[in-house]
C-alpha cells in the first residue's frame, strides 16, 4: 500500500514494477498523454518514471536538489519531465517529448504532448503512433472543454485504448461519488466517440495513489492501478492481422558473384499475416505470383505480420519496385486517385482549395491537389463549419484530393498504416498536413 508519508521524495523500493531488467519477451506499448495545464500530467509521468525506478539516479538527484533548493515540501516530480510549463517559461518550442520507462512486463514509450488547442498538431503527432492515450482530468473540474478535445482527437486518430486518469482525488476527499459522477459524464460524451476500450482510474499523481501502488485512501475502487493497466492492457490485436498489406520499401539485388540472381523485396508488414506459399497480387500492376520465402538476414520465417521488417521472395520474375504493394488476390486495398480524407493542418500557411502539395503514403511519393475543402471541424464541439474557405495551423477538417498517381490504400479506421498520409510543402519541404483516409464515395 502506498505509504503517503513515504512519498515525500523517499518513495523508494516500491514493490511493484521494480524494473531490475525488462524480460526479453516483454512487449512494447506506445502511449500518448494529454492534459491541460496544471492537470498534473508532468507529475503523473514523473511518478511513473520515479516509482518504476527507471528515472535514472542523476536525473532524480537533480530533481531532488532543485526541489530542495526551491523549498518544495515534496519532490516536484514534474521537474523530472521538465514540465511543459517550464519549457514555456524558457521559451523552448513546445513539441512532442518522448520518455521511456519499463517494468518487468513491458517497455513503454510516452509521447508527452501539451493539451492546449494551440498545440493540436503536437497532440495529433503524439497520438499517431500511440495505441493508448491517457487523458488527464482534474477531479475538481471534471469534464471540461479540453478533455472533450483530447478524447475527440484520440478517437479521430483511432487510438484503440483510452484511459481517463481522474487526478487530484486527494483534493476531493477521495470521494467515490465525485469519481462516479465524472465517469458518467464522460461515458455519455464518449458514447458518440468511436472508441472501444475506455477506462477510468481515480489517481493522485502527487501522492502516487493508484499510479504505481494501490491506494489505501480509495478502498471503494477495485479496478487496476494505472501502471497495472498499462502493463496488461491487451494490445496484440490492435494491429490489422486480417488484410495482408506489404508495401515494398526496397528491392535487394546484390548482383554479386556470390548472389548472382538473388532478388528480395524488403519492407515492413502493414497488415495481415503473410506466409511462404501464399498466392499474392502485386499492385498496381495486378500481376499474380506466389510467395516462395520470407527471411530476415538469411533466417527463414514461416510467417510475417505487422510490424515485422522482412524480405519477401516471389516465384515469378516480375517488375516489382519501391511503392508497389503485395496483397492477397481476394482482399485488395482501394486503388484510387480521388481521395476523401480528414486532415490536421500543421503549417503557418493555411490550406485552401486548389493548393498543390507533395504527398507521401506508405512507401510512395506523389503530388496532390486539394480539389475541395468540405468543412473545418470545431474540435471542441465537433461542429462542422462548411463556410470556412481554409484550414489554419492546428485546424482539423475534411478535404478532397486528387493525386498524380493512384494510391493503394485502406480507410484509416481499417488500417492506420495504409490509411494515413502526409502532405509536404514543395517549396519549404516542411510537413504541412497529416491525413486520415475515408472510404471512397
Amino acid at each position: 500500500m502506498t505509504d503517503s508519508e513515504g512519498s515525500r521524495g523517499t518513495a523508494r523500493g516500491t514493490t511493484v514494477g521494480l524494473a531490475v531488467g525488462v524480460e526479453d519477451e516483454a512487449e512494447l506499448l506506445r502511449f500518448s498523454t494529454a492534459g491541460s495545464v496544471d492537470d498534473g500530467k508532468s507529475t503523473l509521468i514523473g511518478r511513473l518514471l520515479y516509482d518504476t525506478k527507471t528515472a535514472f539516479e542523476d536525473q532524480v538527484r537533480h530533481v531532488e536538489d532543485v526541489s530542495r533548493r526551491r523549498g518544495d515540501e515534496r519532490v516536484n516530480l514534474a521537474l523530472l519531465t521538465d514540465g511543459l510549463r517550464a519549457e514555456r517559461e524558457q521559451g523552448i518550442t513546445i513539441d512532442v517529448a518522448y520518455r521511456y520507462f519499463a517494468t518487468r512486463r513491458r517497455k513503454f514509450i510516452i509521447a508527452d504532448t501539451p493539451g492546449h488547442v494551440q498545440y493540436t498538431r503536437n497532440m495529433v503527432t503524439g497520438a499517431s503512433t500511440a495505441s493508448l492515450s491517457i487523458i488527464l482530468v482534474d477531479a475538481r473540474q471534471g469534464l471540461v472543454e479540453q478533455s472533450r478535445r483530447h478524447a475527440f482527437i484520440a478517437s479521430l486518430l483511432r487510438i484503440p485504448h483510452l484511459v481517463f486518469a481522474v487526478n487530484k482525488m486527494d483534493l476531493v476527499d477521495w470521494s467515490e461519488a465525485r469519481f462516479l459522477e465524472i465517469e458518467n459524464e464522460f461515458r455519455n460524451f464518449a458514447a458518440r466517440l468511436d472508441v472501444q476500450d475506455i477506462s477510468f482510474i481515480p489517481v493522485s499523481a502527487l501522492t502516487g495513489a493508484n499510479v504505481v501502488e494501490r491506494s489505501r485512501e480509495m478502498p471503494w475502487y477495485h479496478g487496476p492501478t494505472l501502471l497495472y493497466h498499462l502493463e496488461t492492457v491487451h494490445i496484440a490485436s490492435d494491429r490489422n492481422l486480417i488484410d495482408v498489406r506489404f508495401p515494398v520499401q526496397r528491392v535487394i539485388r546484390p548482383e554479386s558473384s556470390e548472389y548472382p540472381d538473388y532478388r528480395g523485396y524488403a519492407g515492413q508488414v502493414a497488415g495481415g499475416v503473410l506466409r511462404p506459399g501464399d498466392e499474392v497480387v502485386v499492385l498496381p500492376s495486378g500481376l499474380p505470383t506466389t510467395v516462395t520465402r520470407i527471411e530476415q538476414l538469411g533466417e527463414d520465417l514461416d510467417a510475417a505480420f505487422s510490424p515485422m521488417s522482412v524480405t519477401v521472395h516471389l516465384a515469378d520474375d516480375l517488375d516489382v519496385s519501391r511503392g508497389d504493394m503485395l496483397c492477397r488476390p481476394n482482399n485488395q486495398p482501394v486503388v484510387g486517385q480521388d481521395l476523401d480524407a480528414m486532415i490536421c493542418w500543421m503549417a503557418e500557411r493555411p490550406l485552401s482549395a486548389k493548393s498543390r502539395y507533395a504527398i507521401k503514403h506508405t512507401t510512395r511519393w506523389g503530388r496532390a491537389v486539394v480539389t475541395d475543402l468540405l468543412y473545418r471541424l470545431d474540435v471542441n464541439t465537433g461542429h462542422r463549419d462548411e463556410a470556412s474557405g481554409e484550414l489554419k495551423l492546428n485546424d482539423l477538417g475534411r478535404i478532397r484530393l486528387r493525386t498524380t498517381a493512384p494510391l493503394l490504400y485502406d480507410p484509416y479506421r481499417r488500417n492506420r498504416i495504409t490509411g494515413s498520409f502526409i502532405l509536404v510543402d514543395e517549396a519549404t519541404n516542411g510537413t504541412v498536413g497529416a491525413g486520415m483516409l475515408l472510404p471512397p464515395e
Binding site: D24, L28, F56, D112, Q249, R250, A304, S420
Partner: protein, 305 residues
C-alpha cells in the same frame, strides 16, 4: 525455418523492425548518406541493423569515423577488424588534420579534450564528401535535451539544428526532403534505452571492444572520476597512476571517458550492472557532459550531433 508461435512480438524485435524500416527509408530518400561509426556500442548495433536492412547486398552508404586521435587502442583494433569482416568502406575524418589545417585550435590545459572539435571535422567531411545524410546512434533517452529530437533531424546549410526546421513525424512516414547544401541526421535508435541496446547485443550475440568488460588497467583519479592512463593527459600534482580492475560503460576519447570499478566480465554481468545502475551513461562517465543541459542544446545547434 523459424516457426512463429504467436502474434506477440518482443519489444527488442519491434525496435529492430522500426530501425530497419528507418534505414531502408533513408536509403530510398537520400542519395548520399553515410553511417557515423564511433566504435561505441550504439554504432556497433547500427552495423548489425544495417546488415539486417541491406544484406546480402552491400550497404548503400560508406561508414565514417570522426577520429579524434585520442581513441582507446582497443577501439581502433575493434574498428579495423569489424569493418574488414563486414567488407564495407570506411572513411576516416581526422581531427588532427583539422587542427593541422588550422580549422580548429587544440584545447589546452589538464582538462583539454577534442570532443568539441569533432563538430568542425564532421561538418567539413560532410561537405567534402557531399553527404546529404549522416546516420548516428544517438538515443532520446540519453538525456533530457534529446527528448524531442526527431528521427529524421534537419540540418541547414551551416550544419545547424534549428527548431523551426524540424518536421512533425507522424505514423512511420518520414519526410527526407531537403534542399541543396542541407543534410539530415538520422537516428534509428531514437526509441532505444541503454538497457535495450545491451539486451539486443546479447540476443544477437554481437562482439564488442574488450574495454566494455572488466580488465586490469592503469588509471588515475580526477574530479571524482577514474580515467585511463593515456599519452594525451599530463597528471596534476597529487595524482598518481593506480593499477585497478575497471571497465568503461561508454566509449569515447581516453581524455574524457570515465572508467567504473567493476568485475563484470560477461555480457550478462554487464547487463545486470546496467539494469541495476541508475546513473545515465552520460552522467556517469562522460566528463564533458557535466555541462548544463543548455550546453547540450547549444552543441546540437552547432551541429555536434
Amino acid at each position: 525455418m523459424t516457426t512463429i508461435r504467436s502474434y506477440r512480438r518482443s519489444h527488442l524485435r519491434v525496435l529492430e523492425d522500426e530501425a530497419v524500416h528507418i534505414l531502408r527509408e533513408l536509403a530510398a530518400e537520400r542519395e548520399r548518406p553515410c553511417l557515423l561509426f564511433s566504435g561505441g556500442k550504439d554504432s556497433i548495433v547500427l552495423l548489425r541493423l544495417a546488415e539486417k536492412a541491406f544484406r546480402p547486398a552491400r550497404f548503400p552508404f560508406p561508414l565514417m569515423h570522426i577520429d579524434t586521435g585520442h581513441n582507446f587502442p582497443e577501439t581502433m583494433e575493434y574498428r579495423d577488424r569489424r569493418i574488414a569482416e563486414l567488407g564495407e568502406r570506411l572513411i576516416i575524418a581526422s581531427v588532427q588534420d583539422s587542427i593541422d589545417k588550422g580549422r580548429v585550435t587544440e584545447e589546452t590545459g589538464p582538462r583539454a579534450s577534442r570532443n568539441r572539435l569533432q563538430t568542425t571535422t564532421l561538418l567539413d567531411a560532410i561537405e567534402e564528401h557531399q553527404f546529404d545524410a549522416a546516420i548516428g546512434g544517438a538515443r532520446r533517452d540519453e538525456e533530457r535535451a534529446r527528448a524531442k529530437e526527431r528521427i529524421f533531424s534537419h540540418r541547414d546549410e551551416f550544419g545547424q539544428w534549428d527548431p523551426k526546421n524540424q518536421r512533425p513525424e507522424l505514423w512511420s512516414l518520414y519526410n527526407g526532403r531537403i534542399r541543396r547544401g542541407e543534410h539530415l541526421r538520422v537516428f534509428p535508435l531514437s526509441n532505444w534505452t541503454e538497457l535495450d541496446v545491451w539486451q539486443y547485443i546479447a540476443i544477437e550475440d554481437i562482439p564488442l571492444p574488450s574495454i566494455y568488460f572488466a580488465h586490469r588497467r592503469d588509471v588515475f583519479e580526477r574530479d571524482g572520476m577514474l580515467y585511463a592512463a593515456n599519452p594525451f593527459v599530463k597528471l596534476l600534482p597529487g595524482e598518481r597512476i593506480q593499477n585497478q580492475i575497471v571497465r568503461f560503460r561508454t566509449i569515447g576519447d581516453m581524455t574524457c571517458t570515465g572508467a567504473v570499478a567493476s568485475d563484470a566480465r560477461s555480457l550478462e554481468a554487464v547487463i545486470a550492472e546496467v539494469a541495476a545502475a541508475r546513473v545515465t551513461e552520460r552522467g556517469a562517465t562522460r566528463a564533458d557532459d557535466r555541462f548544463t543541459e543548455a550546453a547540450m542544446e547549444d552543441r546540437k545547434r552547432e551541429g555536434y550531433f
